[in-house]
Symmetry: C2
Subunit: 261 residues, 2 copies
């Protein structure tokens, strides 16, 4: 039996992006990981701040930004430009040969513009296809791909795309060729029984416990699409999924949440 190579996909959210000290600390831990790595980063608050300074009024529905043309220009500039290149430059300084990418680059992530029956999300994309051949070839070359949350439709349109979804779709697509570990890093030490109590980390969540915790409303709002993504990814071949603080990357904490089937 052939041994698959491994790849670690790490997703960081806006709270790490928005805090320069946390970001530097995360990037040092990330750069110290061995083997194939991929980073996916969210946007943080700077797109909203920039939009406001330009007189644009950001609109959100159910936690998703409504992306009209001026807002798309802002998020592409901030996510694919400012944040992505700063992260890449810092990783290079940490000795990691990072390459910043949107889904348009190398046609790596093709999306469909979202077609919702009642809400017009604007230029928002749902991932359709990952170019695993090119991605595997970049990893083979020693490159660490760094994805921002921008994809394209292949017809010239850039699309704002949820970063959690990008991370899980990359994980699913690569799981045919690689043993994929997917790690969601955020400001908390894991999924919590009690959102107010950082010591209440749930060490392991399976579908039964998830159903129970949802019914009890211990898990709610933003954590639900995140965990739905996780179970979907596991069912499609991703080997391991973890949620917690980036301290876990270098084993500085044993506390985090593992998602299992």
């Amino acid at each position: 039996m052939e041994n698959k190579k491994s790849v670690s996909i790490i997703k960081i959210g806006g709270n790490i992006i928005d805090n320069a000290t946390e970001l530097a600390s995360f990037l040092a831990d990330f750069a110290a990981l061995e083997g194939n790595t991929i980073l996916v980063h969210g946007g943080g608050k700077s797109a909203t701040k920039l939009a406001q300074s330009m007189g644009l009024v950001p609109q959100m529905i159910e936690g998703r930004r409504i992306t009209d043309t001026p807002m798309l220009e802002v998020v592409v500039g901030v996510y694919a430009g400012k944040i992505n290149k700063e992260v890449v430059a810092q990783l290079q300084a940490n000795g990691t040969n990072a390459m910043g990418l949107s889904g348009a680059d190398g046609n790596l992530i093709l999306s469909d513009k979202r077609n919702h029956p009642t809400i017009d999300y604007g230029f928002v994309g749902d991932v359709k296809k990952v170019n695993t051949t090119l991605l595997a070839s970049l990893l083979e070359t020693g490159i660490t791909p760094v994805f921002c949350a921008i994809t394209h439709d292949g017809k010239g349109q850039l699309l704002n795309t949820n970063a959690d979804t990008i991370a899980s779709e990359l994980a699913i697509a690569l799981s045919g060729q690689f043993d994929v570990t997917l790690t969601y890093c955020f400001e908390k030490p894991g999924v919590l029984f009690d959102a107010e109590d950082d010591t209440s980390v749930i060490e392991q969540i399976n579908p039964d416990l998830y159903a129970k915790l949802k019914a009890e409303q211990a898990i709610h709002s933003g954590m639900i699409p995140k965990l739905d993504n996780c179970f979907n990814s596991l069912s499609k071949g991703v080997k391991q999924i973890r949620i917690g603080h980036h301290r876990m990357l270098q084993n500085k904490t044993a506390t985090y949440t593992t998602i299992t089937l």
Copy 2:
């Protein structure tokens, strides 16, 4: 004797970037080129416009932008984000597998922060080293690299870098492995004897004619660093350099300027 492979490096300036119709027309012509291609694009006016809308006051000395921290964030967002990804998405729609890159990505272009005796240019870079191994490997994979005018210093600092210089440094670095043709596309049909007369294209410029035209002040201001770059590149192994309108790319005009030694 081994035949070298060829690569065409095309640089487009801000006047093409700023005009959506011209840009689309250029990108269609560029996408139709055969063989290995690399695109380098300048910034155009949108960084200045964005900076002004944010209340920043852009400063220029001798045609070079003085890049302080807020201005660097703007140019990185606009050049590496908004413009670069729009160009990439349009090339993808034209069937070219474009990949947008700054010099930080894959450590492709390493620069030194400019150290000038009297002017503090801020975060401006002078190219030190091109990672030709990775660049050749991307070309081999069928990728068309699309470079914006942002590089890095390898120590975590992004640097604003002249796009003409990036094009010529890429051309020089690749000329060891490839027969390199470097083409500067701009709004004019070539270098003109008389700046007011578009029919006065100089078909060929060699160092003698250049010296004469400079002495007569027929060639002046922005064209001088461009031509200095050209002669430097030719002396360092670049095979052919042309300046003119992008119509020449698909032989829609026979009028352009060739620079020769």
